[in-house]
Amino acid sequence: MKPAPFTLHRPATLAQATALLHDLADEDARLIAGGQSLAPMMAFRLARPGHLIDLNGVGELAHLCESGGMIEIGALIRHVDIARRAIPGVTGALLRAVLPHIAHHPIRTRGTFCGSLAHADPASEWCLTAATLDATLVAHSASGRREIAARDYFEGAMATALRADEVLSSVRLPQLPEGARFAFHEFSRRSGDFAIAAALVIFELRDGLIAQARIGIGGAEDRPRRISEAEAVLNGRKPSPELFVEAGAAVAAALCPMEDISTSAAYRRELAATLTERALEEAAR
């Protein structure tokens, strides 16, 4: 569990980082941010980058700000910063509610929000958050800047629309309207483990009826996504336990879950339905 040899680069600016990515394109260069996913993979020699480009010296990526109804999270914002920096509004509260489910404290002090999105583990809480909120991902490369919508970003387990020469410089999340309700529920066998399934629900109540429902499911399929069938069940209707069961059933019906030796697709599907129901109940309270 000692990594294979590599060369370490420490750029000081985003431009230097993208230039390095460009120049080393043929030599298997990888960015490293918090190292909480990459370092274990290197220790197992599942990843053997020839070059590591360390983003930690790129000060311009340590920004976290709100403007134009969007919260922008830079590539050096660590998981713990989400709680330490007072992110305003409902979206801020939502991020703080999700945060404690991610790993363990020491990991949260190093791992980054953008690193989670770049890594794109199917069970990543931040990936689910980005998918459910329809985040915009900002990528930089030597040839320029582009924005990617969350729905186009996730391509599968640990596969994204990000190109090998791009830095995910920030993620922009919409500020939810005052009064929007949300809840996050996940199930993992132990606290701090990646979830077997997770549900993030958001909705507004207008005249006692559900509006703008967002149901996001993570961990169950190879990538997180909104389940429009379940959202359709909710919109325009009065919250009730029966309705939430119905929405859960719609989630179950829409999902095509992953399967592995210790977790069956059926179990994941039922779990996703239950977590959706529970999250809806909590959000409605």
């Binding site: 569990m1 000692k2 990594p3 294979a4 040899p5 274990p40 197992f44 020699r45 199930f187 066998r189 132990r190 606290s191 701090g192 483990d193 990646f194 030796i261 210790s262 977790t263 069956s264 179990y267 039922e270 779990l271 239950t274 529970r278």
Partner: protein, 776 residues
Amino acid sequence: MTETRQPIIGQSLTRLEDPPLVRGKGRFVADVSFPHQLHMRVVRSPLAHGRLLGIRIKAALALKGVHAIWTAQDIADIGPIDFREGKIEKLEPYRQPVLAQDYVRYVGEPVAVVFAEDAYVAEDAADLVELDIEELPVIVEADAPPGVFAPGLSTEAAIVTQGFGDVEGAFASAHAIISLDLQMGRHSGVPLETRGAIGLYDSARDVLELHGAAKVPHKNRESLARMLGRTTTTLHLFEYHVGGGFGIRGEIYPEDILVLVAALRLERPVKWIEDRREHLMCANQSRQQRHLISAAVDAQGRLLAIRNEFYHDQGAYPRTHALRIAETTCGILPGPYHLGAYSATGYYRLTNKTPCATYRAPGRYETNFVRERLLDAIAERLGMSRVDVRRINLIKKEEMPYARPLSVLEDDVSYDSGDYEGLLDQSLKAMDWDALQESLKARRAKGEIVGAGFALFIEKSGLGPTDGAHVNVDTDGVVEVLTGGASVGQGFETVVGQVCADILGADYRKVRVVHGRTERIEFGIGAHASRATVMTANAVAVAAAKVRAKALDMAAELMQAQPGDLDIANGLVFRRDAPHGPSMKLGAVASALRPMAKTRGAREPGLSADGWFESEHQVYPYGNQFAVVKIDPATGAIAIERYLIAYDIGKAINPMLVRGQILGGFAQGLGGAIYEEFLYDERGEPLSVSFADYLMPTLSETPDVEVLLTEDAPSPRNPLGIKGAGESGIAPVGAAIASAVEDALQCTGLVRQLPLTPQRVKAMLKELQSRRGLPA
């Protein structure tokens, strides 16, 4: 100054060994280095079964910093790994070669080995070694039909049997027969510190040293000397701090032999530190058994006979213990109950998985689960309460000592003392059992899935037959206790120090306990099978008493008193009738006994003595554990609402340490009950090789545990009355949680397998619904 003798035995004193550990000054094997050392990396089989056709090492050897690469041919003169207790004819051909020869039989089996200037280069080179292996079909289940281990050898390496009485007759005349098919998952001890070994050869003195020993240094010295063709006098083992043993550390593995042979031949120190992946793939695993068990009972629920047939999954090779777990499984299964007749048959089978051996409470975690499931099933069948079915079968206090024609660890089973029913009553009271039943019933009526369960158990500990110790007081009054024991973190130094200080009258803080060093003491039993306190502490007591007598004799002359008028406390000799009067330090007494001291007279020099303790049989502590659980029907997750462990230790030298042992053991037991499982796919590929896949309970998963520690039944088999504590926390956890889960589900016979993963619990809920004719 007033001197009085306060008891030290029985006090919860803080641990002697902690100061360096809590200051970050501990020294574990990875902290140890020698000048010019080489680093060793093992090349392991990527396939679970195959014919080894060739190994190409050229590219690896060319890497800068690589010193040597060996395959089986390079150590053709070294035989396979021996059994600890010597030759076992029938199993000889199944022993694991140090490096695979013609076949590989599990993923992770050592095939070649690299020696390099640093650990990184060694791993780079190991990656470059190319293996040519022809894949062969695998056997991954011990209950599948046996296959071929090697030409002419079946994978069923042995069948173990024990029993007594007329089993057939009992079954023929039984009021009822209850049968279960139960499986235990594969899990093991996963110490914080992985294994490590450093070989060192001193050619000037012709002494070979193995640094990083644990558990049984002296026994291993004998085995290693035998295997390497050396005398024990020129082979020494050294133990450092050990970050957890649990039975699996300190056994002889291929790597221990490799570092020694390499140190000899390369004439440089050779260091190997296991990484976590290797640990989860190559260190001994344990527990995996399937039991087909039947009980014949009379109308009152009395056990007339038990038939216990089981498949023992040994993994690819027998390890140093050979058949021990299977034998223990046979001998200990009846537990605390009367039993008219019994037959046990264990199929000891080799599979293409990591080899297995003892893990804390070997044979007991498994059998407690099986036996206690059986008792719950009998209760249900006969419409009795789970408590009553146990009461009617329990061996009574008056029947002690209670012998059975069975054996455990080649020792005839004979329970020394105990009041099993008395302790059960204490626990029922502590749990407020009847009220608890009512409240659980009320909660179930409201739709909650809650229940309580329990398990009774007997432990065995203090395997003899003999252990010795040497106690010496130096001229500064520091007491050195030389033992052949070992410390795996359990508090060995503290316990031995307390016994020595108590009996000798020394200052506990001035006792230094030596262990795990074969060059200091010729014999030793190490630390396993909860025996160190029973055997070593009793030997220390004998030696300490002799030193005390010698000190009193010398001091009496110097203080112009009779030895009987004197006492010793806190390292001071004083007159009983004048505790404020003149006193003498033990160091001064030791000075008076120096070889050249005139005061010594005709006495033998030195304030020191040897002590030996012999025991005829093991001792049998006992206990019970109670669990209250709640199941989430949607996720299948089990929450433990309450947990009680009652245990009779005979006599606790240090109750705090006993509690520590119990709680630590419990956490591991919880792992086996709910979380931990080494999984393999159908090709024998291990799937649980990181902590992301092998789930050990953390603090968040471990509930508070109430401990009811009693000393109702001291052992009559040793003067201190002690019984072991090491395995009591873990042994019946699977059994108790399974019982509680079935109570929550209000149905017995659903739990057939441990661990109770959420998915398995969910499947049980579904089965229950279909049994009750409800829609799923």
